[in-house]
């Protein structure tokens, strides 16, 4: 791919895709919750930039609305809410001991390769920009899952969950310049309700097991006692 010959929009989108993926990797290795939430907000902001750039270049006003919703939800509301819970539950000094960071990072790198491997055949007929952006957004989705697997704190799980949503939004923005307005509003509503419910759950979990370490929730299983 000849990067110099691409138009400005494609170059910007490609850089943003790379940056979004980078933030996912940083989150993967982050043991401090407040910093994790800050990086998540940063990822949301990159997403807002990408959406606004797409809105500007395609001259598509409804993408501006979608950018505004993302700004309000993913950059402001959810990080604010998570921060408040972390401070309230007095968890901002805890450093989560992440086991086997190297293996997790290597796993993350292989997930990126895997995303390219999955999407390469079907994107042969489309532009290289789209292939890159879509593969990276699939990678962000998978990295979000890896984040949930490698961390034990419920708050980290919520960050992983929401960064999966970020990956989905990025995919929708770059591949199709946004879903139809109804769908986008519906998804934003679901994310909002989910965020509120997560807040309620933090309180419930905390009062039931006296911490937010989800590994301690192991009453229900099929293992013989």
């Amino acid at each position: 791919m000849d990067i110099e010959n691409l138009d400005l929009y494609s170059q910007l989108i490609l850089s943003l895709a790379a940056l979004v993926t980078l933030t996912s990797f940083i989150m993967l290795a982050q043991g401090r919750l407040l910093r994790l939430v800050f990086i998540f907000a940063l990822q949301g902001f990159l997403l807002v930039l990408a959406t606004a750039i797409a809105a500007y270049s395609f001259n598509n006003p409804h993408l501006y609305i979608s950018a505004a919703i993302t700004m309000a939800l993913k950059v402001l509301f959810i990080p604010w809410m998570l921060r408040r819970h972390i401070l309230k539950l007095n968890m901002h000094r805890d450093v989560e001991a992440l086991s086997n960071k190297t293996a997790v990072m290597m796993g993350g790198a292989s997930l990126v390769m895997f995303s390219y491997y999955v999407l390469h055949p079907i994107m042969q007929n489309s532009s290289m920009v789209l292939l890159n952006a879509l593969s990276l957004s699939l990678a962000v989705i998978l990295l979000g899952m890896l984040l949930m697997i490698s961390h034990h704190q419920a708050i980290a799980h919520v960050v992983g969950f929401m960064s999966i949503e970020n990956g989905l939004f990025f995919a929708a923005t770059v591949s199709t310049s946004g879903m139809p307005m109804v769908v986008e509003l519906g998804i934003a509503f679901d994310v909002l309700v989910a965020a509120v419910l997560f807040g309620i759950f933090f309180l419930h979990i905390n009062s039931s097991i006296d911490s937010l370490d989800v590994d301690k929730m192991n009453r229900l299983n099929e293992v013989d006692q």
Partner: protein, 487 residues
């Protein structure tokens, strides 16, 4: 189209109404009234479709055809009968101090919220909205799973939330890929409309759709409870209030399967490779067999029947995967009889648990001696779900077997094995619970068993003779899904 709109508006009103007035004395009866009216509306809608065929609203946002209308009626019916059961059940839970007024308000409000999400999944023509509604169904039920606020129920709800949330995110990625494939030939507004996509399925890029379907099957498959994505299901079913288990098993799983089948119709139109069918057969058969073995290990009565739900959903997924008209007909019938039987079973299980005060299989004893109606209800329900003639489940399982012999004869032994193992797994646990001496001091509880009697009577009727209008309906739906009529 009017009944369809009313069908959506009424539960929406219900959410607000019960959020405000859900603490009243006779709130259970009011909930029954709400669901009764929606049942009437769904019948009105069904008659419209029966007379005039597929209805597409003028703005194309809603579609009602023979496939989803029967699921709408089924949803409304099970929602109605379960609400009859839930009224005294929840009143009893409040009496023994397990629930407060506030939580009761949440329960009734979200009951309606769940029904709304289900109707939206079924009636919408927009694949994106279908996803949104599916996610909304999770959000509506997640607080109901943790309604009792025990550590177990909170754990189950968290698992349900995270697993289903992440799982269904995959389905959204699949939907985005589908949308991308569709925007190549259609304008952006229509590109997610199922009716438009279905007509132009040949124009969709087959390779993109194949990948998209993998994501959708994983995503919606998490909600169907396909192995190995089923972990949340037994937990959520066993820890929530029993009426919730009944509607989750009877309705939510069906509607998730409905979403998969709708997508499969698009993929089949775009490709000739039958890949969607093979994937569904593989996942379905695996779920069926794994769940059958797990039935033997259960210690909790509600977990036992949750695994039975996984087993039956696996069988349906398998049958839809075979994709011949015959198999599709069998799967549609199985969807209906399974919903009816399973929700009836959960109603009796709910009473059994209230009688003995525990969900542990080892401690529930002598049900028939204590309260014959509940004991016999459980026994007959189990007979029906295990596939004994003359019940409807036998008919549909027999048809699935025949369809398998027709298309993939070498898979028949696996099915027979699974059915046998599942039957043994159910009965080794059920026998000691219903027969035998009753423990000291075990008392009968106030129980309304009409829902069970009606459900099982319909299942029996379907096993003896399927009425003409119903088989017409199934035939039309089969033609829609698989392209030609069975037989």
């Amino acid at each position: 189209m009017i009944p369809a709109y009313l069908l959506l508006i009424l539960p929406l009103l219900g959410i607000v109404y019960f959020a405000l007035f859900g603490h009243q004395e006779d709130v259970g009866r009011q909930n029954t009234h709400f669901n009764g009216v929606t049942l009437l509306l769904s019948l009105w809608l069904a008659i419209n479709v029966y007379v005039s065929g597929t209805i597409l609203s003028t703005d194309k946002y809603f579609i009602v055809d023979s496939f989803n209308v029967y699921l709408i009626v089924l949803t409304a019916f099970v929602g109605f009968t379960t609400s009859i059961f839930s009224a005294p059940y929840m009143a009893h839970e409040k009496e023994i101090g397990k629930l407060t007024d506030k939580r009761l308000r949440l329960y009734y409000s979200m009951y309606q919220g769940f029904m709304f999400a289900m109707y939206l999944v079924l009636t919408t023509n927009n694949m994106g909205v279908m996803w949104v509604a599916m996610e909304a169904a999770t959000l509506a039920t997640v607080l109901l799973v943790s309604l009792y606020r025990t550590p177990e129920s909170i754990e189950a709800a968290w698992k349900y939330f995270i697993l289903c949330g992440v799982g269904i995110a995959q389905a959204l990625f699949g939907t985005i890929l589908l949308y991308y494939a569709a925007t190549q030939f259609s304008d952006a507004e229509n590109a997610l409309m199922w009716s438009v996509l279905y007509e132009n399925a040949k124009l969709l890029d087959p390779e993109i759709l194949e990948i998209a379907f993998v994501f959708m099957l994983i995503g919606y498959g998490t909600k169907i409870g396909l192995v190995p994505l089923h972990n949340w299901l037994p937990d959520a079913h066993s820890e929530g209030p029993t009426p919730m288990s009944a509607v989750l098993s009877g309705l939510l799983l069906n509607d998730a399967l409905y979403a998969v089948v709708r997508n499969k119709m698009l993929v089949d139109g775009a490709t000739d490779s039958h890949i969607a069918g093979y994937l569904m057969m593989g996942f379905g058969l695996m779920s069926f067999l794994v769940a059958a073995f797990f039935l033997h290990r259960q210690k909790d009565i509600k977990r036992l029947f949750s695994y039975s739900s996984i087993e039956h959903m696996g069988l349906m997924t398998f049958a839809f995967g075979i994709g011949t008209p015959f198999a599709t007909f069998a799967a549609l019938l199985h969807m209906m009889v399974h919903s009816l039987t399973k929700s009836a079973i959960f109603v009796t299980v709910g009473h059994a648990v209230q009688i003995s005060g525990t969900q542990s299989i080892e401690k529930i004893r002598g049900l028939i001696r204590t309260q014959p109606k509940v004991g016999w209800g459980l026994l007959i329900g189990t007979l029906a779900i295990a596939g004994f003639p003359p019940f409807g489940v036998f008919t549909s399982e027999f048809l699935v077997l025949l369809a398998t012999m027709q298309s993939y004869p070498w898979l028949t032994p696996f099915l027979l094995l699974g059915i046998g193992i599942a039957c043994a797994g159910l009965f080794r646990n059920i026998q000691p619970m219903v027969y035998g001496e009753k423990p000291e001091g075990q008392q009968a509880v106030q129980a309304n068993l009409w829902p069970v009697i009606v459900h099982l009577a319909i299942v029996l009727w379907l096993g003896l003779a399927i009425p003409n209008f119903l088989s017409d309906w199934f035939t039309q739906a089969t033609i829609l899904i698989s392209g030609s009529a069975p037989l």
